[in-house]
Amino acid sequence: MIKTVQLSKVYRTDEVETTALNSVDIEIKAGEFVSVMGPSGCGKSTLMNVLGMIDNPSAGEYFFNEQEVGKLSERKRADVRKNNLGFVFQSFNLIDELTVYENVELPMLYTKVPAGERKKRVEELLEGMNIMHRKNHFPQQLSGGQQQRVAVARAVVNKPKLILADEPTGNLDSANGDEVMKILADLNASGTTILMVTHSQYCAEFGNRIIRMLDGKVVTENVVKRYL
């Protein structure tokens, strides 16, 4: 599903040039749950942004479903993004002025899903996430765990092929964190590819592969072994 060849990202200011990604080659197959780990500033989030097509690479190639997307225009990237990707952020990034229901419905407005279908999907997801009773509440009226569940619901409502999760449990206590990780694992089990950035070894091991980064480079890739 994802293949990068010598992918680089350099940030330039007047005086400083920072290499956030340095010739990264990775491959992620459909159905995988890949965790990206590494210390702060190692380029994890930049990798996530570039793979999520909300940022352009400075050099190298990025193939998404065998299509080179690294050099697409903003408009085309938006098209690919809305039809294929779902995002979960550490800080949830729910829109404060929209209710739970409306936040989850929002991506479907951009993909022009008919109203009846939208209602059905939102309600199904909210039921599944056990927050249906909170559907008319605003984000600031929810607990962190509830907010992240809404964010996950929003990420999956358009049935994306890939979910990009940036520290999804970073702002949650362990119980809520666990709950979110289980939801992600279930989604993966049902066929959704997941790429997750995390600082937590515990969360990383919910995936089946861990990529470790340092100074913008991939240093190791390990398959997660599960002992039953």
Binding site: E74, R75, F87, N93, I95, D96
Partner: protein, 809 residues
């Protein structure tokens, strides 16, 4: 969902939404009120079916030294030539403006049964039959075609017919008396003329009635040299495209007659004034209540647009200052697949909703505030406004323009955020751009506001200057009124004088053609002493009796005032005339002969100091005063200040006793003179009113920006306080940035306002100076208001507990 979202967002940002809505509401209300004035004035005369074909013949003379080169007057023989020789005229009418009384005669003789007078604001006409057709008279009774064909016939408006006869249906065939002397038969009744036209006559008398009546100055059939501005000619072209050809033909009228025998130069040329210019060209009088130069309408429109622009600037400033707070939302929406166009659409709809709310509120406020329009315009209060469909079209257009103006830039800025930057935790700081634009707009707002305030102060100073100016005569406690100029009234002049003199509080009574200062100009060529040629400049003429000097306290430089006389025998000249004649000593002029109108020889008996014969816009003109009973129709009564109401009542009683058929309308001379400056008073009120609005809107924006700045600098203030900054230091820190902008705007506004107001003052021959303190005062006022506006937020921020602010950061 979109609307719900917009309302929630507005509720969340109550202060900023409030500032935007309040500012836009005030701006929109101001624009609507101005639209009401401008559209009313621009609609004048447009309801005539033949608007494009109607013209008036006007004239321009070689400047004769009185500054009165333009005139609407048409000599009687020229009127006849125009009426018969211009083939492009389909319909034509000579008219004479007139201000008579009409009475219902008493069959038993004596006091008439009913009497009504035309007032200064209402002008009646003598006119030819075509006049009714040209101006689309809507007949309700009578024989329209024949109405004005015969001499001694009159047509009345429905209101006036009702006033005279109880029921307008009874009017036709009845007899009325003009000035209680000349009988006229009512031939027709027509609807009142629309309020937005320059013809508000209550009646029209057939032009042929005038012939031979000296009382009404029917000037000679062959006299090309004399004319009165009341004598005019209107015409309707056979086709609007004939205007140029008709104009060329009109310009040929008087080719021989207007040529000076002395110089061979043509002294006067007639040409056509389309009726579309009647309401706007100040060079020529019209018969309506007022003339508005288009420049004034443009100024008013510009002020309206500027006020609205100020409110839009607030919107832009607050939206861009707050853009960073919406960064996360933009980032999320873009990440979820929203395109830039969709986001622009969303932000524009948000602006649209705010503008729509402001429009509704603005309409309400404009409606409530419409009585205030009387301070700045002539728009009648009764005029329907919101029922007019063009108002709604204007509102819709305003809505679109304001939405675009206020919303486009912030929308483009917001929608341009890159999601990767917008979703960063420090996005609020990194995305707060546009500070330069905001500062520029604040400066622009205060430049506009301060220009208006400086304009208001200077116009008020000029009006004060006018009020305090020595006019060269005393205008206080002189009560004036008019009386008939007909032969019967002339006979009763001495009776009126004697009756008035009996009132114990009356000090003196003077009759004249007009008061020392008036809007009338009567000018004539003349020859001085034994000089062989007519002087190369004309003199302004006033006719006055022997009491004129005492009544108005006019200062003499030499000789004495006019002796009592019924006919023209003596003359008084003024200082300017003396200078123009090349004389230095006033005594040199005394006893010289003054040749007027060819055959009249007057002896100069005195020289007066200059007094203002017109408004202070005009320079002093050469003036001649002489006495002739025939031309006395204005009374000036100098009274003592004690018990004014009973004095005024006694003056009216004296008038009613001597001239029972005439209608008394008195006013104080100072009030009459104040009317010369009505237009200037309106300009002052416009600058004052809209200047205050501009300050208000600008301060609203400043308050919003100060609120935003204070919230952005919470951490900085906390750190500074921890490090020992004082409260006043913090207040100074937060206020300094804004006050610097206000000072900068004063630096820009001062020369601009100076230039504009200096230009305006040049219109006045006598005017105040532009004092330096006007600019200082404006600057201090602006600074105080601006400081008061931002200080609330500054003080609040400065007094906040730094521990709290640092913790919250």
């Amino acid at each position: 969902m979109q609307f719900k979202f917009i309302f929630r967002s507005m509720l969340k940002n109550k202060v900023f939404s409030g500032i935007n809505i309040l500012g836009l509401t005030v701006g929109i209300a101001a624009v609507l009120l101005i639209y009401r004035v401008v559209s009313y004035e621009l609609s004048f005369n447009k309801n005539f079916k033949n608007y494009d074909s109607l013209v008036r013949v006007v004239g321009e003379s070689v400047d004769d030294g009185t500054g009165q080169g333009y005139s609407v007057c048409i000599p009687v023989p020229a009127g006849e030539v125009l009426r018969t020789n211009i083939t492009q005229f389909d319909k034509k009418s000579r008219v004479k403006e007139t201000w008579n009384s009409l009475t219902v005669p008493n069959p038993g003789g004596g006091t008439p049964l009913k009497k009504f007078n035309t007032t200064n604001d209402v002008t009646a006409f003598f006119a030819d039959p075509d006049f009714c057709e040209m101006l689309d008279f809507q007949w309700v009774s009578g024989d329209a075609a024949a109405s004005l064909a015969e001499p001694n016939t009159i047509v009345l408006t429905r209101d006036w017919a009702t006033k005279f006869f109880g029921k307008w249906e009874d009017a036709v065939g009845k007899t009325l008396l003009i000035d209680n002397i000349y009988p006229v038969t009512v031939k027709g009744v027509f609807e009142e003329m629309p309020v937005n036209c320059d013809f508000n006559f209550p009646f029209v008398i057939s032009y042929s009635t005038l012939k031979g009546k000296e009382d009404y100055f029917y000037l000679g059939d062959n006299d090309w040299d004399s004319c009165s501005s009341n004598n005019q000619v209107y015409a309707q072209l056979s086709d609007p495209t004939q205007l140029a050809a008709a104009d060329a033909a009109v310009r040929r009228v008087g080719e021989k007659e207007y040529v000076s025998k002395k110089t061979g130069q043509r002294m006067k040329t007639h040409y056509l004034q389309p009726i579309s210019e009647l309401h706007f060209n100040e060079n020529f009088n019209n018969s309506g209540t007022h003339i508005v130069p288009k420049s004034r309408l443009k100024l008013l429109s510009a002020i309206g647009l500027l006020i609205l622009a100020l409110a839009c600037f607030n919107f832009i400033n607050l939206a861009t200052a707050q853009a960073s707070l919406r960064a996360k939302e933009v980032g999320v929406r873009k990440t979820l697949g929203s395109g830039r166009g969709q986001l622009i659409g969303q932000f524009m709809s948000e602006t649209g909703v705010i503008v729509a709310i402001s429009l509704l509120l603005g309409v309400g406020i404009a409606n409530l505030a419409s009585p205030l329009l009387s301070f700045v315009s002539e728009v009648p209060r009764s005029l329907p406004f919101l029922s007019n469909p063009t108002v709604w079209a204007f509102l819709a257009l305003t809505g679109v323009v304001v939405t675009a103006l206020a919303g486009l830039y912030p929308s483009l800025t917001l929608a341009g955020f890159q999601p990767v930057k917008a979703l960063r935790s420090n996005a609020e700081k990194s995305l707060t751009g546009g500070a330069g634009l905001r500062k520029s707009l604040v400066v622009l707002q205060f430049v506009i506001a301060q220009c208006l305030i400086i304009g208001a102060i200077i116009t008020i100073l000029q009006l004060d200057y006018i009020r305090s100016q020595d006019l060269g005569f005393k205008k206080d406690l002189v009560y004036t009124f008019g009386f008939g100029s007909d032969s019967l009234s002339m006979l009763r002049q001495s009776a009126l004088r004697q009756t008035l003199a009996k009132v114990p509080t009356v000090e003196s009574v003077s009759f004249s053609s007009d008061q020392p200062s008036s809007t009338n100009t009567w000018s004539s060529d003349f020859r001085f002493a034994n000089r062989p040629e007519t002087e190369p400049f004309a003199t302004t003429l006033k006719f006055a009796d022997e009491n004129y000097q005492a009544t108005y306290s006019i200062k003499m430089l030499a000789g004495r005032w006019l002796a009592a006389s019924d006919t023209m025998r003596e003359a008084i000249i003024n200082k300017t005339m003396l200078k123009k004649l090349g004389l230095n000593d006033p005594n040199e002029a005394v006893d010289q002969v003054f040749h007027l109108w060819g055959s009249r020889e007057l002896r100069i008996v005195g020289v007066t100091d200059d007094f203002h014969t017109h408004s202070l816009r005009h320079e002093h003109m050469p003036l001649t005063l002489t006495n002739d009973k025939k031309f006395l129709w204005q009374a000036g009564v100098k009274i003592r200040p004690d018990n004014l109401p009973s004095t005024l009542a006694a003056i009216q009683a004296a008038f009613d006793e001597v001239m029972p058929e005439q209608v008394f309308e008195g006013q104080f001379l100072d009030e009459e003179i104040a009317k010369f400056y009505e237009d200037d008073r309106r300009l002052a009120a416009t600058c004052k009113g809209f200047g205050l609005l501009a300050v208000f809107i600008s301060c609203l924006g400043l308050f919003g920006l100060a609120t935003h700045a204070a919230s952005q600098r919470v951490k900085e203030i906390g750190v500074r306080k921890v490090l020992g900054a004082s409260t006043t230091g913090i207040i100074g820190l937060l206020s300094k940035d804004f006050l610097t902008l206000v000072v900068l705007s004063l630096v820009i506004a001062s020369p601009l306002a100076y230039w504009l107001m200096d230009k305006w003052l040049q219109d006045f021959e006598f005017h105040t100076k532009i004092h330096w303190w006007v600019f200082v005062l404006t600057g201090v006022l602006a600074l105080v208001v601006a400081f008061a506006t931002v200080s609330y937020q500054s003080v609040k921020a400065a007094l906040a507990n730094p521990v709290k602010s640092l913790r919250s950061e």
